[in-house]
């Protein structure tokens, strides 16, 4: 994907997902949202990382072969799961005890907009007027480490990283990191800090498609997309 003013290609969804897994710590428990985040699962190779799905399972690592599905084994995105001996099942009360109780270390979600103070809007497009919250508000409000994976702009090349979200909020002041198709950003003290650029990109080109002042704390490195 490349807009005419772009200095280089933007990453595709799989590359964004793969890159986001670089920021997962071993021995952690992770919840993946729908869309780009759900693609992360296939790139997690560390066996000490446990995947949690809010419908009541952790420890899964594979989707079931289409010929061999069982509706009693599903993730929250509606994908059927291959069973393995590390999986544990529980009901929705326990599942949200885990979330609200802060037992989930990291959640990776998609977003329509993220603001510079870490607010996230990801459940409703105002023009449509109706949307689905699901577990996103619980996850964002209660997880220590919230990573957003998304395309950097809308299809019209408008910024999705903004001063203040115009879309209805999912949670306030919770996003720690954003991985987009042009860079990796951290949110710290009400600032968007650019940590890494996609290959061929530079600070000015990223600034041009970002709705807030982008800060850089040191020499920017290129995202090493081939070695995650």
């Amino acid at each position: 994907m490349r807009y005419h003013s772009d200095p280089a290609e933007r990453l595709n969804k799989k590359q964004i997902a793969k890159y986001a897994t670089k920021f997962l710590k071993n021995n952690s428990i992770i919840n993946l949202g729908i869309g780009i985040p759900s693609l992360c699962a296939q790139y997690i190779t560390d066996p000490t990382i446990l995947l949690h799905a809010e419908n009541g399972v952790y420890g899964f690592n594979k989707f079931a072969n289409e010929k061999n599905i069982n509706p009693d084994y599903m993730d929250a995105g509606g994908n059927f799961l291959e069973t393995n001996k590390n999986m544990v099942f529980f009901d929705s009360v326990e599942s949200f005890n885990l979330i609200r109780g802060g037992h989930i270390d990291t959640t990776i979600l998609g977003a329509f907009q993220v603001s510079k103070n870490g607010d996230i809007a990801n459940w409703m497009i105002p023009k449509r007027g109706i949307g689905s919250i699901g577990g996103a508000m619980d996850l964002c409000a209660n997880t220590k480490n919230v990573i957003v994976t998304m395309e950097h702009t809308t299809k019209l090349n408008e910024p999705k990283i903004v001063e203040k979200c115009e879309f209805p909020l999912t949670a306030v002041n919770c996003v720690n990191k954003i991985v987009t198709d042009v860079g990796v950003f951290e949110i710290n003290y009400n600032s968007i800090i650019l940590k890494e650029c996609a290959p061929g990109w530079d600070v000015l080109s990223i600034q041009n498609i970002t709705g807030v002042k982008v800060k850089c704390d040191k020499k920017i490195v290129f995202m090493d997309i081939d070695n995650v």
Binding site: D72, S92, I130, S132, M137, D138, A141, A171, V172
Partner: protein, 220 residues
């Protein structure tokens, strides 16, 4: 209340089909992932036409829904709940999933209300009581009960003790405790005392009626 998580596993599909054909009006449906399977196939095997809670709005027996996930991400094609919402905007109440399940759990556990940080700073906080506890803001949410819970389990014994399989527990056990009458749809009924008493997921005292599905039902 309708149990499960929206997919075919854990959903009382036969009870839902039977209810949707009854000559009733004005039902309030309490669900979770309520209306996305029919148009997206969410959680259903590809060769079977999905059933979701939109069925109650297509047949017109319901006039309100309380859930966390009423509509899919795409509006094409429009789902029955989205069509209903267009003319009844105040009759689709969307609640964060963790708050919804805790409201139901509390109803079954004799707890009238609870505080949660979920939804702080969003429209969920509007017109609700809030409180700072240890310098953190929380919203007061109230318990939610129902007249009937339709749920799905794998096995029941003759005393109504239930076991679930895999991820098909979801909202079923909590809903069983929060309704005046709980009706469970099961694959198998076994003799009283033949389930392992160490391994009962829902207690029989919460279950009022058991419906056994046909063997090899077309719906999973």
């Amino acid at each position: 209340m309708i149990g499960g998580f929206g997919g075919s596993g854990g959903q009382p599909t036969r009870l839902m089909l039977a209810l949707s054909k009854k000559k009733l009006k004005g039902l309030t449906i309490i669900g979770n992932v309520a209306g996305i399977s029919e148009t997206t196939g969410y959680g259903w095997p590809k060769n079977i036409k999905p059933v979701d809670q939109g069925i109650f709005f297509r047949t017109g027996i319901a006039d309100k829904i309380i859930c966390s996930f009423p509509v899919p991400a795409s509006q094409n094609p429009k789902s029955p709940i989205e069509n209903f919402w267009h003319n009844n905007k105040n009759s689709v109440e969307i609640i964060p999933q963790g708050t919804l399940i805790e409201k139901i759990r509390c109803a079954g556990a004799g707890i009238p209300a609870f505080y949660t940080s979920t939804g702080v700073g969003t429209i969920i906080e509007n017109n609700k009581e809030t409180k700072f506890i240890n310098n953190k803001k929380y919203i007061l949410e109230y318990a939610l009960s129902a007249d009937y819970a339709l749920i799905r389990a794998s096995v029941a014994d003759e005393n109504g003790n239930l076991q679930f399989r895999g991820t098909s527990r979801a909202f079923n056990p909590a809903m069983a405790t929060a309704a005046k009458i709980t009706i469970v749809e099961v694959d198998e009924i076994v003799k009283a005392g033949s389930l392992d008493p160490n391994n009962i997921h829902t207690l029989g005292i919460h279950v009022n009626r058991i419906i056994k599905r046909r063997k090899n039902d077309i719906y999973p």
